[in-house]
């Protein structure tokens, strides 16, 4: 049983440290109000996701079948499975092979919300580490009683507790089914960070073999008995209404089982996948739509963004407002930076399989949040949540909120029409390009002044952007619901709360600046569909801040690295910067013609991983693409569980951020998205990726997990822009950086 669902209260008795701890093993939802609020106060102090799921047996099961660990987080290609297994293996004193991990499934695992925000290690890793340590301690005490040996003389190893003479009791023999049905303690007897066996080692990822041998690894690979294939005919543009469609000829096509029409929602079901595609194309040809020109002029997008009504969110205020006695400011600069809409651009279009059987809906989905999706689907289909189960199965990398949840909605809507048969829906490439929610448009204005000593005296930063999350929530966020006969409309957007923030994520510089004012101009109007893209606003804000830092350094005639160091106090920030400068050979760097170097630093969300990066590029007159010759990065994400997994994530984050920064911006006309494939929305290919990327992991054993997945996006963008400025003597403030902009700027 993953989630406790007891009907009556019971008491579990657990002896710890000589004291008798009585814990009321109530399911939180059944507890009385008083107990609940008292419990809440206690649970707030529980580490990681134990705070919301405090029972140990929600996380761990140990029996004759082995050790099973449960996480509410999802494998997204970031390697979380392997890292969580390592954490559990460390604290349970077993080899990682001894552990089976069950990931996000509403019937089996804790509710850990979304797998997002680089929080999986902090939430789930911390919970599992503490739960495993407490379970080990419980087993040690039980063994101490059974073996009549003092606790201090026992050791745990290889799945057993061992006494000095060699007598041993296997974990499974110490526990009954309910022994671990106890509430977590705020402080677990965690293993000594100086003696790690499994954590801190580059354990090979457990998910990779299935992927290289062509085993069933992805939701796209599911083949259930009697499964049929569906394709959706998406409208040609946002808000388009289906005027008419003739379905009779479609029903006569080979393999077609049914056509689903519900308002402007149109789909076809066929026996085989390619039959569904052929039928979808025919159905699309048979449909006529009414479209509206609801999109802004792309060429006026940034002027529009500034003109649209906005709501002010104060992000940071420090010191006295600047008196602007300019005579005191040795140097004063200002700049404006812009970024268009960016695509997640998953290589595998979104996919889901759904089965509606005897009033129960089961959905296999690549969602980042099985529980939020379950409530959204329950609302969409009109079922109680108890009759909907969402099971996460890996898809292609998503990098945030892409089409995954909508594809699950498609599968659910269509499965309802063909009860008893599993329905597999995969989006076509153009569906993914045109309908995924994009990373929002952004614009920042920065002003800053250096004092006579070359310190930043004041800083003013304003960033305009939409919300950076429209995740479900409820059914209203599911895009297919907007086209039904009785359409739902998305709720009014709101800014994500600080300190993590959304459009204002990392808008506050970490640098020591005595007088500062940072504001988020939150723009509710969002003519293009937008949501969370890896790192949210941090990609752009760090790009802008780090570009401007270089401008200030140049104005003050400081080396960019020295300039950053003199505005930072946090020793961990200094350590990543110094490490990179040294490994890159920053000081001794000799510039060849056409080459340049750039540096950037940020602490993700100003409260998570520290990352510094140096980049060397070369630019060739007349060539639209710069060459990235060399990249060196250093990351401190707290205790490193799987250093190679961290390197993999950071390398990938850097290359992806280079692609966004150099090449990408969604194209549209007044009615339609025109970036509909990889030709109209190119991304970085092998010829343009860096020649080398070196990532140094600064491991901090015993320190909290800080997460890794999004740390590189902003610094990579900033360092690349700074390297281009250094190489070509030009400062590019509009993303993407490559192409005609470089050529144009160099020609002038």
């Amino acid at each position: 049983m993953g989630v406790p669902d007891m009907k009556v209260s019971r008491r579990a008795v657990l002896s710890t440290g000589g004291a008798l701890v009585v814990s009321f093993a109530l399911a939180p939802s059944l507890a009385g109000a008083a107990a609940r609020s008292a419990g809440r106060a206690a649970e707030r102090s529980l580490p990681g996701s134990l705070g919301s799921t405090p029972m140990l047996d929600a996380w761990l099961r140990i029996d004759a079948g082995g050790i099973t660990v449960f996480t509410g987080k999802a494998e997204l290609g970031q390697g979380i499975k392997t890292a969580l297994i390592q954490v559990a293996a460390e604290e349970l004193a077993v080899q990682p092979q001894a552990i089976t991990l069950v990931t996000a499934d509403t019937a089996r695992t804790p509710d850990e919300g979304y797998t997002a925000g680089s929080l999986s290690m902090e939430d789930s890793g911390t919970a599992i580490m503490n739960a495993a340590a407490q379970a080990r301690e419980i087993m040690m005490r039980l063994a101490s009683e059974r073996l009549r040996q003092p606790r201090g003389e026992l050791t745990a190893a290889q799945g057993a507790v061992i006494a000095p003479g060699g007598r041993r009791i296997a974990y499974a023999d110490l526990l009954s089914a309910r022994t671990l049905h106890v509430r977590a303690e705020p402080r677990a007897p965690l293993g000594n960070p100086a003696h790690r066996r499994v954590m801190g080692r580059s354990w090979p990822r457990v998910d990779i073999p299935a992927k290289v041998f062509g085993e069933r690894a992805f939701v796209q690979d599911l083949r259930l008995a009697d499964m049929v294939h569906a394709r959706v005919v998406r409208p040609p543009s946002y808000g388009a209404r289906l005027r008419s469609v003739e379905t009779a000829p479609i029903l006569r096509l080979p393999g077609v089982l049914s056509v689903v029409r519900n308002g402007s929602y149109l789909a076809v079901v066929a026996r085989r996948e390619y039959q569904a595609i052929v039928a979808m194309e025919a159905l699309s040809g048979a449909a006529s739509w009414e479209e509206t020109a609801s999109l802004p002029h792309q060429s006026r997008l940034f002027a529009d963004l500034l003109a649209w009504p906005s709501r002010d969110v104060p992000v940071g205020r420090r010191g006295r407002p600047p008196s602007l006695r300019r005579s005191h400011a040795a140097t004063m600069l200002e700049a404006e930076y812009r970024r268009g809409y960016l695509m997640h651009g998953s290589i595998g279009p979104s996919c889901a399989v759904a089965l509606f059987d005897h009033g129960v809906l089961t959905v296999w989905t690549q969602t980042q949040g099985v529980y939020p999706l379950r409530s959204a689907l329950a609302g969409l289909i009109g079922l109680p949540e108890s009759r909907v189960r969402c099971i996460q199965v890996e898809g292609a990398g998503c990098y945030g909120h892409n089409g995954a949840d909508d594809a699950a909605a498609d599968a659910a809507l269509i499965a309802k029409q063909v009860p008893g048969r599993p329905v597999r829906v995969q989006w076509m490439r153009a569906d993914e390009h045109k309908w995924e929610p994009y990373g929002p448009v952004m614009l920042a204005r920065v002003r800053g002044a250096l004092d006579a000593a070359g310190h930043i005296a004041w800083w003013q930063y304003q960033v305009w952007s939409n919300t950076h999350s429209t995740r479900p929530g409820g059914a209203r966020e599911l895009m297919p619901a907007w086209y039904l006969e009785r359409p739902l409309s998305p709720p009014a957007p709101s800014p994500l709360p600080l300190p993590a923030g959304g459009g204002d994520r990392n808008a506050l510089p970490l640098y020591r600046i005595p007088s500062l004012r940072v504001d988020y101009r939150f723009v509710p109007k969002m003519p293009l569909r937008v949501s969370a893209l890896r790192s949210l606003g941090a990609h752009f804000n760090v790009f802008a801040i780090e570009s401007f830092m270089d401008e200030l350094a140049r104005a003050g005639k400081f080396d960019p690295v020295e300039f950053r160091l003199r505005h930072l106090d946090d020793p961990r920030a200094l350590a990543v910067i110094r490490t990179v400068a040294e490994r890159f050979g920053w000081r001794a760097y000799r510039r060849l013609a056409g080459c340049g170097k750039g540096f950037a630093f940020a602490r993700y969300k100003n409260l998570a991983a520290y990352l510094a990066i140096a980049v060397e590029v070369s630019v060739d007159r007349g060539e639209p693409m710069p060459r990235v010759l060399r990249v060196v990065a250093a990351v401190d994400s707290g205790e490193a569980v799987n250093p190679d997994g961290i390197r993999n994530q950071i390398e990938g984050g850097i290359i992806q951020a280079f692609s966004w920064t150099l090449l990408e911006s969604v194209k549209f006309d007044r009615t339609r998205i025109t970036s509909r494939d990889w030709a109209s929305y190119p991304i970085l290919r092998f010829s343009a990726v860096p020649r080398s990327v070196e990532v140094v992991v600064l491991n901090r054993p015993g320190q909290p997990f800080l997460g890794t997945g999004e740390a590189a996006q902003g610094p990579a963008a900033g360092a690349l822009a700074n390297a281009l400025a250094d190489a070509a003597g030009l400062r590019l403030q509009d993303l993407p950086l490559s192409g005609d902009r470089i050529k144009g700027a160099m020609g002038s």
């Binding site: 796209q220 290589i347 595998g348 995969q426 494939d677």
Partner: protein, 166 residues
């Protein structure tokens, strides 16, 4: 009925001749290796070998392939006997989400069959048609180089083969 030789085994399929090979492999033959990425010949997720050459299986009609030898990543080896590239991709941990991986391996396989010791530049050039959104490119290049080296060592010591079927 169309006859094919898939991973060394003769098979007959009853798909319409216009059906792209990708759907025959995935849907009819229930192989997972070739992936749908774009259906447009733009991303390489669907890459397989036809008579030893890398092709986009999403745009090749199965009717054009009668009697031909087709290799997917399943044909290169198994967990017990991995192909050189499969082994190297694991050793280099050359995947993040891994959705592009099988296509990358197949395109690399075609390269190594015609060029046993490619330079990094040649590897990059050969892999140019295949996209990876996770940014695993440099590990993929390293894995291909590692496989080439392993294969050269194997040839030198008299053991053969890049993978099994082909």
């Amino acid at each position: 009925m169309i006859r094919l030789i898939v991973n060394g085994r003769p098979v007959e399929v009853d798909d319409e001749p216009s059906t792209p090979l990708l759907y025959v492999l995935r849907d009819t033959l229930e192989l997972n290796g070739a992936k749908f990425g774009c259906g447009l010949g733009q991303c390489g997720a669907c890459t397989v070998l036809v008579e030893g050459a890398a092709v986009f299986s999403c745009v090749v009609p199965v009717g054009d392939l009668a009697g031909q030898r087709i290799t997917t990543v399943e044909g290169l080896g198994t967990r017990e006997r991995p192909g050189a590239l499969q082994q190297a991709f694991i050793e280099e941990q050359a995947a993040q989400c891994g959705y592009c991986t099988a296509g990358m391996i197949m395109r690399a396989q075609a390269l190594l069959e015609r060029n046993a010791s490619p330079t990094d530049e040649e590897i990059r050039a050969a892999l140019e048609p295949n996209l990876c959104r996770c940014g695993t490119h440099l590990r993929i290049v390293r894995a291909v180089r590692r496989a080439a080296e392993a294969r050269q060592r194997a040839v030198a010591s008299g053991v053969s083969s890049l993978g099994r079927a082909g």
